[in-house]
Amino acid sequence: MRAVGIVLAGGNSHKMKELTHKRAVAAMPIAGSYRAIDFALSNMSNSHIQKVAVLTQYNARSLNEHLNSSKWWDFGRKQGGLYVFTPTITLDNGYWYRGTADAIYQNLDFLKRCHEPYVIITSGDAVYKMDYNKVLEYHIAKKADITVVCKDVEPGEDVSRFGTVKMDGSMRIEEFEEKPMIATSNTISTGIYILRRRQLIDLIEYCAEEERYDFVTDILIRYKNLKRIYGYKIKGYWSNISTVDAYYQTNMDFLRPEVRNDFFKGHPSIYSKVSDLPPAKYNPGASVKNSLVASGCIINGTVENSILFKKIFVGNNCVIKNSIILNDVYLGDNTYIENCIVESRDTIRANARYVGENGVKIVVEKNERYAL
């Protein structure tokens, strides 16, 4: 195999509000049956990358639970495997990961012991399908030092949470702006990078010597005139979920047939941890329109334009509209929910009413469950 994978999954996002109180962004449930990190891991597996390191830091319990076996993404190999690296105190380091570059630096021994010539770095909080081998071929053809996967967004779209790039005719990146207040380009970096492993080790070691810790500002932006940094444009669907609105919208995108067909039916598949739940059950009184329903759900009420994740119980006379109900939620009878994201493993009491008036509302009740 020609590349080793690194998934940066340590991040928290305050823009996700209550949703990241109990989990890292990479562990956010997506599209009914998946977690955000499944997309990066499945892409790695489908690109025949057998050795993948996941770097975690913030609130990794949920993520670690999800990654408790490497079987689901086919990483249980003698050659390779799935490695989860959380910061540890060592003889010469007592810090948390102080940035993306520092996270890699603290695990540099792993990279040094690999024999694969290339490294693919991606983030764990984006929903996309990609054959990294195509990017690698591009990287080699361009004789690039670093290849950054980029995405064109609609002109006028708010890109202030991304890095924007400008490329010349040969696709070499000339300008790179991190989180610009006023955007001068509608091409954004997706946070997916390919470079030679030796090159990465050198850059990261030099960065650490200078006490610099961020991959984007201290490597990409700092070296853009020195190193040959190229952009590769991703054509298909790509979405970063790290704000409440983006998370909501990304999930709702799966109600569109083209997105759904691409991810659910197109080759290759996205894999996830199997939860061994029975099929969804529709009892008398159930009325479901334009919605996604995951396994283990029992539905007695009305569900419209919504996404029910795994193991949702919808009580009698409930109405759920334009909402996302995360895993293992019990909705008591006569509940009305509109424009909401209901946090996982919750029990919503009967007759509750939640409506997101100005944008999406996050519902957290934290009730004990006695029913069922």
Binding site: A31, P278, P279, A280, K281, Y282, V293, A294
Partner: protein, 424 residues
């Protein structure tokens, strides 16, 4: 030394010929059940839930689907360094080579496999029943009685007892007499085909009877051990247990799952049933869809009406289509504007547009009246049914059919349409 207290031997080689076209290309244990399972998932899940991590699966008839389904046993946590699941097909030997000629003969031919684990007890199971059972409790019962053989048995209505092997016990559960499919049953306690043997007893009986043609547990091994004065006990089981041997009972058992609180509840946290889930996306229910009293598997897309159905993973039901009282297995594609009543449609079948299944009165099937009955339309796996045809009740269709196969666009009730052609 490798040592397992109890290992299980799961008999999965039978055809299940009474399921007609459903088992034309797969063994009965591999037939789909309840939207996302296969029949063999129930005994396999029971094994791992009972703490049995060594299971030999004896295959013979059409094993391909079973082999791919079981793989190395990952879904049941039966991928073990020592033990785990092993598929045991008949094999060529230096002296003789034969198929498995009977249930006990199949076990006899795998004596070496069992010996490897130095078991104290061997659990014999069959792969064609739907139930949840803790075999460990049964083993405790076996040990408490210092039994040589314990047979799981359940009370059945006395009029049904003649279809089973019947045990007559004293009040302690000790078996006094054993009747195989008796015309005059003396008891209503029916053997479920689940046996725990103390290993030395099983080994000796198999050696003693090795030359009996078609050696069978119910017919030969149990009576033989009984004659030898071994301690035989019946373990009474009173839970849900369903033999899905006929299309009628198969259809009924599936339909029971859609009751509001089914007798056989798959939604309990305790005693999960595991299966090989190769389709994991959620199901999509479209704007114009209507779903009532049904269970639906992962990745299905429903654009039409589904009432009282068990729908498998990856199924598509087209716009304007109405499906009622039917079992639709994995990856079936149903076109637009169809009306489907009381049908069993096996995996990968493709039903065209404007197809009507299950019209008219119930006419007895002319080909196999015992099998294709109950007013059902049965469609075999990977069958293609062309646009616009109508099909009556008690019918079976298998293979790639075209409009020419339906005189006047109709397959009358009681007809059977089996084409040899494979789907291209």
């Amino acid at each position: 030394m490798i040592k397992k207290e109890m290992i299980a031997m799961l008999l999965a080689g039978g055809q299940g010929s009474r399921l007609g076209v459903l088992t034309a290309k797969v063994a009965k244990p591999a037939v789909a059940f309840g939207g996302k399972y296969r029949i063999i998932d129930f005994p396999l899940s029971n094994c791992i839930n009972s703490g049995i991590d060594t299971v030999g699966v004896l295959t013979q008839y059409q094993p391909l689907r079973l082999n791919t389904h079981i793989g190395i046993g990952i879904p049941w946590d039966l991928d073990r360094n020592i033990g785990g699941v092993s598929i045991l097909p008949p094999y060529e030997k230096s002296s003789s080579s034969e198929w498995y000629t009977g249930t006990a003969n199949a076990i006899y031919q795998n004596i070496n496999y069992m010996e490897t684990f130095h078991p104290d007890y061997v659990l014999i199971l069959s792969g064609d029943h739907i139930y949840k059972m803790d075999y460990e409790v049964m083993l405790d019962y076996h040990k408490d009685n210092h039994a040589d053989i314990t047979i799981a048995a359940m009370p059945v209505p006395i009029e049904d007892a003649s279809r089973f092997g019947v045990v007559i016990t004293d009040k302690d559960g000790s078996i006094l007499e054993f009747q195989e499919k008796p015309s005059q049953p003396k008891s209503n306690l029916a053997s479920m085909g689940i046996y725990i043997f103390s290993w030395p007893v099983l080994k000796k009986a198999l050696m003693d009877l090795k030359d009996v043609p078609g050696c069978d547990f119910g017919k030969h091994v149990i009576p033989h051990c009984h004659e030898q004065g071994k301690r035989l006990f019946a373990y009474e089981y009173n839970g849900y247990w369903k033999d899905v041997g006929t299309l009628g009972s198969y259809w009924e058992a599936n339909m029971e799952l859609i009751d509001i609180i089914p007798e056989f509840n798959l939604y309990e946290e305790f005693w999960k049933i595991y299966s090989n889930n190769d389709i994991i996306p959620p199901q999509y229910i479209a704007e114009q869809a209507v779903i009532e009293r049904s269970i639906i598997g992962d990745g299905a897309e429903i654009y039409g009406e589904v009432r009282n159905c068990v729908v498998g993973a990856g199924v598509t039901v087209g716009t304007g289509t109405v499906v009622r009282d039917s079992i639709i297995m994995k990856d079936v594609q149903i076109g637009n504007g169809c009306v489907i009543d009381k049908a069993i449609i096996a995996e990968g079948a493709r039903i065209g547009d404007q197809v009507t299944l299950g019209i008219g009165g119930a006419v007895e099937n002319r080909f196999k009246p015992q099998i294709y009955a109950y007013g059902l339309v049965t469609i075999g796996e990977n069958t293609v049914v062309p646009d616009g045809v109508q099909v009556g009740k008690n019918t079976a269709i298998s293979g790639v059919t075209s409009i020419e196969d339906y005189p006047g666009g109709l397959l009358e009730g009681g007809e059977t349409l089996i084409k040899a052609g494979e789907r291209v």
